[in-house]
């Protein structure tokens, strides 16, 4: 795994660098930021949706399902105490020629894909302060 570096731009806006990719994270105006990018929590939703979309697309490509592409719409259901994601709600559009039997199989597979599986079981979070 390559190193991810998060460094401050201004206020609550941070740059995230991974290899040659640079992303920006910020908070919405209502949360004290300037909405200069998705919030860290929103990035978690992005990761889940992107993981699901790419893995399901790869499955469909491998089986020759080509009448349309995979697309994911998702939203986050937030809960409090502590403030966190209570649910990631995802709708997945599949190519039209995916048979019903594979749709059910894909739904079961989706929960075993890297990001959903990580969220489901909860990784160890190891932090040192310098």
């Amino acid at each position: 795994m390559d190193l991810i570096t998060v460094s401050r731009q201004e206020d609550l806006k941070f740059s995230v660098q991974l290899r040659d990719h640079v992303m920006t994270t910020d908070f919405s105006v209502g949360e004290g930021g300037k909405d200069g990018g998705p919030s860290p929590v929103e990035y978690l939703g992005v990761a889940a949706g992107a993981c699901l979309a790419t893995m399901v697309q790869a499955y469909c490509d491998a089986r020759g399902y080509s009448d349309g592409d995979v697309a994911v719409n998702l939203t986050l259901e937030m809960v409090e105490n502590p403030n966190r994601i209570g649910a990631i709600v995802m709708d997945v559009d599949l190519p039209n020629d995916v048979p019903e039997s594979d749709r059910e199989k894909l739904k079961a597979m989706a929960l075993r894909m890297p990001v959903p599986a990580t969220l489901k079981d909860g990784p160890r979070v190891d932090i040192e302060m310098f």
């Binding site: 209502g30 949360e31 919030s39 929590v41 929103e42 719409n73 998702l74 939203t75 986050l76 259901e77 937030m78 809960v79 409090e80 403030n83 966190r84 209570g86 649910a87 709600v89 995802m90 709708d91």
Partner: protein, 105 residues
Amino acid sequence: MEMVELGGKQIEIDEDGFIQDPDQWDEAVAKDLAKTEGVDDMSDDHWKLVNYLRDYYLEYNMAPMIRKLCKQTGFSLKEVYDLFPSGPAKGACKVAGLPKPTGCV
């Protein structure tokens, strides 16, 4: 908190525009709340969502989970967001006169 005119009545709202007393809600209030969400014309689909949220809240004293909202109304997530661009929590719940949902995003 501030008082604003919604549906011809003076109604208290919080800093995000959610009404504080659900009992003050009626269709005229909903139409004015919808305008604050950029929805100038409440279609039958808007009302279907709003009325489902309203009925659920009155029965259970809480908002439904988003998946339940979608299944019960027959709308996909995208369709919900097409109707209320702020989403089911910040948009549809506000128009339905529900308290501000917990959490953020």
